[in-house]
Every structure is written in C-alpha cells, then in structure tokens.
Symmetry: C2
Subunit: 198 residues, 2 copies
DNA sequence: GGGAGAATATGATTTGGATCATAAAAGAGG
DNA sequence: CCTCTTTTATGATCCAAATCATATTCTCCC
C-alpha cells in the first residue's frame, strides 16, 4: 500500500466506479497503477462457458494489476468493482518514477508481489489436486492468517459468499456448500447463521 | 537474472547439486537467495496421494524462491534439481543489501516477480477450468512466447516430457498424451518423432 | 412491510478426466 | 550391442465433481 498523500503528490486521481463497472479487461496493456481508496475490486476471468474464476479480491489500501506495469505482459484478468468504489489511479510513467525516487515504496511493492505470488502458488497447487475440502480449508486458512491476521480457533469469520468461495477455488457453488457442510461435521469449522468460522 | 560477478562480489557461493537433490522444502523459512548457474531446478508440491505439481522449472540465469526473502511467508513448494546443477547461493541479508544498493537490480527482481505472477495467473485460471486441450495450448503458447521467444507457426519445439507437461498443468500423463494427439488431429500443433511443435 | 432477487440448500443424473492395466518404443548406461 | 529404465501410447473402467432441477431462506430495496 502506497501512502495516499504520496500518490496524490505524484498526480494520482481518485476515480469513482459503480458496482459492476470494469476498470480494465484481460489482454489489455496497462496504462495506470491502481490502488483501492474505498470499496472492493475483484480481478477475474470468464471461461468459454461463462464460468467465472476470481484471481483476487482487493480492499482499501490494496493495489492490483501491477505486473503489466513492471514487465512486458498484458493484463491476465479483468478488473471489476464488487461494490461502489473509489480507486487511486496513477499513470504508468509517474508510477515508475515514484518507484525510482522512493526505494522504500519500491520495496513495499516488491513485498506485495511476493505475497501475491505466494498465494498464487498455494492456490494453483490446491486447484490442481482433486480435493475440494482440503482446497477450501487451505484458502480459508490463508485468509485467516494473512488477511484477517487472527489466531484463535474459530475466531475468524469468513466474509465471502459461497459463490465467491467457489469462484476463488475453481469449484461449483453446490460443491462448496456440500464441502463446507462436511467440514463442519468433521469439526474443522463452524457455521453460525450461515457464516463460516475457522 | 543478477550478474554473476555482482553475486560473487556480495559473497555468493556457487554450490553443486546432483540430480534429485533437494535445495529446500515446502514450509521452510528462507535463508538464501538462489540463482541457477548450470542445469535445471524445479519447484514442486506433492499432494497426499504423492501426485506431483510443478510450480516452475528454472534454467541458467533464472532465480527462484524469492517470495520468502521479501515477505513474511515460507516456501510454498520444494526445490529439486532436475539434472546435475550448480546454483549461486547468497544469504538473505546480503541479498537485501544488494537490492538496497542497486536499484536497477531491484527493478529486475521486481520484473521477475511480475512475470512469475503473470504466468501463475494464467495457469490458475486455466487449471480451474475443465478443458485440458485449452490448458495445454495455453501453457505451450506461454512458453513459446516468453521462454522460447519464437513467433513462427510450428517453429517452437517443446522440450518437456509428457509427464512434465502433466505435472505443470495438474493433469494426468494419460490425459496429456490423449489431448496432444487430439490437438494434432485438429492441426493446432504437430508431433514429429514424439516431439511437440507449435 | 412486502416483494423481488440473491444466497443457501438439497436431490438426482451425467460425464470427462482419473485411475488402472498393459504394451510398445526410445534412450541411457554399462 | 544389450539390458534396463523411462517415456509414450492404448484400452477399459470408475467415480467425484459438474451439471441440472428445484426448494427454502435471507437480504435489500421500494
């Protein structure tokens, strides 16, 4: 997360999007650096059958879509507002200039990419193995430890819908519902008022 | 890729590994930065059934396993020599010092992570959709464009075994064999002397 | 407060990739 | 050059997640 005063000093604009708006599309070249100011953004793909895969969900303070600013690649996914949102938007040139001039900011961006890569490595390995319950526990544990930063047993409440969990894990929503029920029976998690606790 | 003289100047050692040796294991904390000097290294996971998933294969000049040096995470996968190999090994402290002192090197590492993240985003989305032929074409095209840097039709020869392709894509080797045969029939690729051309 | 839409849930059926078994061909090493 | 291992290949069967269908409950908006 880059300090918002610094972003504004470099000419960033704070742009509003409505729920459902698209910020960019898979395959496009990057023109801007983005960081969430309010609301939530997701990056996703749709396959030929229209099935959605969510690469990540980004909330206040989190940047997204950095790789095409730093390497000769295009966006690997779409970006879409999950709620009404505001986003800091800084041109690629200004962003690279900011990194050059602020080594600590550059290190933070590198740390962000490192965390993102870590998450992806876990997910790709989980998704490639045919074990929905293990997959679901793994992503919930990741969110508990790295996003919620919670340690107590059943202290972490998952604030994702079953459909979002399905889209993040490559499963069908029916499979997620059945697997979370099964995990509850095994004592691996708790469900209260339809919310999952881990 | 960091220039090897620079690595040596910062105290890197050139360490030899035999085919099959492990450099580090999933879940361990990182102590060193690694870059391949000769041979090939893969990063992989095994699931409970012993099925392997290959996160990436690294050849001469390529670094690997960077995220735990840059963020508070552990190795998400094992590292294993695919052939007899030599690897530059630099302590974490020296590595971070090198980045601080050499912004251009830091930017190269950031670019490496960005490319790695791009590849992962493609693969995780592909693996989450149930389309083996599309998945196989997608990874071959990625390797053709970003690793082989080849453009002509059927000019790129894939130097991976069917088993390695299976391990990289989360499929079974039988599925890969049948899918590549089917793609050949569709004219999407060619197979000569059991080698795939795309 | 009510209605519409979204989310959760359950049941039944299908199917494609996994799995198992086996064979042939190529490569590597002695 | 021979043997053993690895890789590629083919055929048959299985099954778990996808898919399809339907119902219930909760949330949001007017």
């Amino acid at each position: 997360m880059i300090d918002e005063n610094l972003l504004l000093n470099y000419g960033a604009k704070r742009v509003a999007f409505s729920k459902g708006d698209q910020l960019f599309r898979e395959g496009e070249s990057a023109v801007n650096f983005y960081q969430v100011a309010s609301g939530e953004i997701k990056m996703n793909n749709y396959n030929e059958d229209g099935k959605e895969f969510i690469q990540g969900i980004f909330s206040i303070g989190q940047s997204f879509g950095e790789p095409p600013l730093l390497a000769k690649v295009k966006y690997p996914a779409n970006a879409e507002a999950i709620s009404d949102a505001e986003v800091f938007q800084l041109s690629k040139e200004q962003f690279l200039d900011l990194l050059s001039s602020h080594p600590k900011v550059h290190l933070k961006i590198t740390e962000t990419l490192a965390k993102r890569l870590y998450y992806k490595a876990i997910m790709v390995s989980e998704i490639s193995s045919q074990e929905p319950e293990h997959r679901i526990l793994r992503i919930i544990d990741y969110l508990k430890q790295h996003v919620g930063k919670v340690e107590g047993k059943f202290d972490y409440r998952l604030d994702l819908t079953r459909q979002q969990l399905a889209d993040l894990t490559g499963l069908r929503v029916e499979t997620v519902i059945r697997a979370t029920k099964s995990l509850e029976k095994k004592g691996e998690l708790q469900i209260k008022k339809r919310k999952v606790y881990r």
